[in-house]
């Protein structure tokens, strides 16, 4: 590309805030301390003092605003376009949620405020605990974990505590080869050992492999259902029976809960511990990498070990208001729940701001609305899968021949072919062989079409994988447009694969040298 072809954003070289401004410029005006003459050196002896100020930027407020608004435009975001990132559930983030989270009663509420003066917050947390318990089909909830992986860590620590309390030493945790990377990483952090499970031809857990590996030293099986192939494991009850049969627990990775809300509940499937991703199924905006929130729900037998505090409601007893209204309080294991707690996972009560948004979402949709959301998510995924499979290509053939979905195995009897849950995984293998275009190339060319690509190269057992999760908040028109874009890229590649191989062209920067970045890491601005 020549510079004359470059877009305005491409011509605008990246300069950090540290490269802007000038000595003496500022945005902050410090208030007068107003407490008379104070000799700071007397308050803080020399040996404790900072000698040179940190070299923070020196910029005016207008510069600051223009800088960050400017670089914001170098981001693609969910409000701008389709974001079918598999296992990430990029559904619409209603702005009501931002408004209610920002109410001073929430935003400026201190976490150590006395319980009787934080009743609204405690009631909200108690209500959210109850709603999540109902959705999971498990009775007790801790809202504390900060994100999904933090919830997983809590869950594996709960499993350890459960077994240790019985005097049992169990070191192994079974994880399918389709599992999210956080599952095995969590097992290691929790001091246990990962044992991989194979996947069967239908995309579920290989039962023979499970039976062979389900021994008395297994602590837990961590499972996502539907799994990362978008397949609901039909053998789930049998899996639960095998796992419980050897005295192990069953852990549910809630990353894919958006497929089954109100349709099927982890607790009813036999799971003991579930984590939720409030930043996936419950619309907490992802913020470009957080904040998230990872509450966990557990069965009765796990409840004594839950992190504390949890929120409890007291009725008709001491501590209630004069009016006899129920009172909500932080409970540190006064009853069964948390009585043998594993302890805290973090400071204070968890990411309350995310609770407010998730609760607003649950109130907005209600029980039927949540079920409808999951149904529509599954409908959208199946529609897009069918559209892609059947879409004819100009040069002959169909998209589905170049990008087939290897799982689940299509039922020969089924009229319309294979089905999926809320997401599906395509293989770019045939495309690569036929056109010389890899999944990465397809993904990068999608950027020029204004779409965020699907998750790529995961799960690992699908060659050149593309994992597509459209979510329920996309219209049929958007799904059609995405299918058209994929078809157009394949048709273009059939004529000239080099176009996709060098894509993207229209983004603020083009393909970046990640190898060089890792070989000689430059991870901060040089100020010398």
């Amino acid at each position: 590309m020549t510079e004359t072809d470059a877009t305005p954003l491409q011509r605008d070289a990246a300069r950090t805030i540290f490269q802007k401004g000038a000595p003496g410029r500022r945005a902050f005006v410090c208030p007068d301390p107003g407490v008379g003459e104070v000799d700071v050196s007397r308050l803080l002896p020399e040996r404790f003092r900072r000698r040179e100020p940190p070299r923070l930027p020196e910029v005016s407020e207008p510069e600051l605003v223009r800088h960050y608004v400017g670089i914001s435009k170098r981001n693609f975001d969910l409000d701008s376009g389709f974001y079918p990132l598999g296992s990430c559930t990029m559904k619409h983030n209603p702005r009501l949620h931002e408004r209610v989270a920002a109410l001073p009663g929430n935003a400026r509420l201190h976490p150590l405020q006395d319980g009787e003066r934080a009743q609204g917050a405690l009631e909200l947390m108690w209500s959210l605990q109850g709603a999540l318990a109902e959705i999971a089909g498990l009775p007790h909830v801790s809202l504390q974990p900060s994100a999904g992986s933090h919830g997983e860590l809590a869950g594996v620590l709960l499993t350890r505590a459960f077994h240790e309390d019985r005097g049992e030493v169990r070191r192994k945790v079974l994880t399918p080869d389709t599992a999210h990377g956080t599952n095995p990483a969590t097992v290691t952090m929790a001091g246990l050992e990962v044992v991989k499970l194979a996947t069967d031809a239908d995309g579920g857990v290989d039962l023979d492999d499970l039976r062979a590996k389900a021994e008395e030293d297994v602590a837990c099986l961590m499972l996502t259902n539907p799994n990362t192939l978008g397949v609901f494991d039909r053998n789930i009850l049998e899996i639960a029976e095998i796992v419980h049969g050897v005295g192990a627990t069953l852990y549910y990775d809630g990353a894919n809960l958006n497929a089954v809300m109100g349709l099927s509940r982890p607790g009813d499937m036999g799971f003991d511990i579930v984590h939720f991703n409030l930043h996936k199924s419950f619309t907490q905006p992802h913020g470009g990498g957080g904040p998230g929130s990872g509450p966990i729900a557990v069965s009765e037998r796990i409840a004594p070990y839950l992190p504390v505090p949890v929120v409890a409601r007291r009725t008709g007893g001491e501590g209630n208001g004069a009016s006899g209204e129920p009172a909500f309080e932080l409970d540190y294991g006064s009853g069964t729940v948390g009585s043998k707690t594993i302890g805290r996972m973090r400071g204070f009560h968890g990411n309350y701001g995310c609770f407010v948004r998730a609760y607003a979402y649950i109130r907005s949709l209600g029980g039927n609305g949540l079920t409808d959301a999951s149904q529509t998510a599954v409908l959208n995924a199946n529609y897009l899968l069918a559209r892609l499979r059947e879409h004819a290509l100009a040069g002959g053939g169909r998209v589905g021949e170049l990008l087939p979905a290897p799982y689940p195995r299509a039922e020969p009897s089924a009229q319309g072919g294979q089905l999926c849950m809320h997401e599906f995984v395509l293989s770019g293998g045939p495309m690569k062989r036929a056109l010389g275009v890899k999944t990465l190339d397809l993904a990068k060319r999608l950027l020029d079409h204004g779409f965020h690509p699907p998750t790529v190269y995961f799960p690992l057992l699908v060659e050149e994988a593309l994992m597509v999760e459209p979510t329920e908040t996309e219209t049929r028109e958007t799904l059609d447009a995405f299918a058209e874009a994929i078809a157009a890229i394949l048709e273009e590649a059939a004529k000239d694969p080099a176009v996709a191989q060098s894509a993207p062209y229209t983004t603020p920067v083009r393909r970046l040298d990640e190898v060089a970045a890792a070989r000689q890491p430059v991870i901060r601005e040089r100020l010398d």
Partner: protein, 475 residues
Amino acid sequence: MLAAIGVGSLQELFERQIPEPVRLGRALELPPGESEQQVYEHLRALAARNVSAEEELSFLGAGMYDHYVPALIDMLTERSEFLTPYTPYQPEISQGGLQVMFEYQTAISELTALPVSNASVYEGPSAVAAAAYMAKLHNGGRRIVASAGLHPHTLQTLRTMAHGFGMEVVEVALCGDGSPAGARVTDPERWARAIGEGGEQVAAAIFAQPNFYGAVEDAAALSAAAKAAAATGPGAGGAGSGSPAHGFAPVVVCQVDPITLGVLAPPGECGVDVAVGEGQALGNRLDYGGPSFGLFAAREEYLRRMPGRIAGETVDVDGRRGFVLTLQTREQHIRREKATSNICTSQALNALAGVVYLSWLGRRGIVELGELLLARTHYARETLAALAGVEKLHDQPAVREFAVRVDADVAAVRRRCAAEGVNPGADLHALTGREQDRGGLLVAITERRTRAHIDRLAEVLGAAVAAERGARVAA
């Protein structure tokens, strides 16, 4: 759409995939959905039942602080481009977020005077636990020597996590612990002894600056003592102590309060190896305890074992400067069970608020703000200590938080103050459970608390203590 899929009904879509015994077969038992306006009214009514720092004169701190959040942070964090993307897995369309991470890493590195920073972890206490885990990966030790001056939530989180990490926590008492009039800083002798006795088993030695009681620790002395104790302790240089270069040296970890670093000597200049901390004070709201962010900075040698995302600089095919997530071979999505941490989603939006705040304060502003906090805290401390029945809990320098003891039941005093619209601070004993903290009140001063506010606190607290003492005499 059903026709395109080839199913007759929505029901069929599920019946063909979810076996009948695990289908719910009923509606969720949740209230019916509501309109946006109804939900707003309901949540507004709930929020109205909370007494926030908007409605009372609050001196609560103890880990989270009511600092002023500039309006431009609200504007920027509500922008779709920052609020709604996922983690930047496609760098070509995520340069905004990646550059923010790079700038954030630079700001935290400058603030802590440590060369490398990640792009944030969850929050303060779990950041300390993450540092302990990194120390174990670094030197193979299994013991965590932790100052009792750490936040109680930090100590509790460390113990929870240590069990999973296969580590143990040895708590080092503060000077004067066991007697009410202690100095409330880490006892240097006990600190050195615990590290020396642990020998090569000590993975990390951790303290807070300032500590939970608001006391400024002698960070340089604690770091030096940790290294010295290690050099002379059992196993030093002996068989099995690892390579001589690392020998047996605990990783010195400091939990910092970042807003004090305009005036306090930064950890990198105090011999500290890893600085972690709660970032809420930097441009994040209270939010009843979260979300905020945890900062995590270290010396260069820890870079490849750090948890979390790290943005790095590179060039595109046309030679343009750009940013990517780098050193991803540390991370769970690449390394799975061999990853250095399981963290995935962390706190990108909160870290954005953090770097915008630091840029807003600027090089001079962070010093001026620190000096303002020092001055007002000093004023508040002396004013309260002059009240009858109120004394300082320690004489150590304090930047923006300090502890006093009231000669009365703290809970009763706090109730009396609340009735006057004043929250005088946190009940120390309720948080630490330590006997010597009975009667303790932890008072936080931010730039939002003026001299008039402090005078009002003194008036209300003085009256409350007097009333409680009077009631005691009468009884």
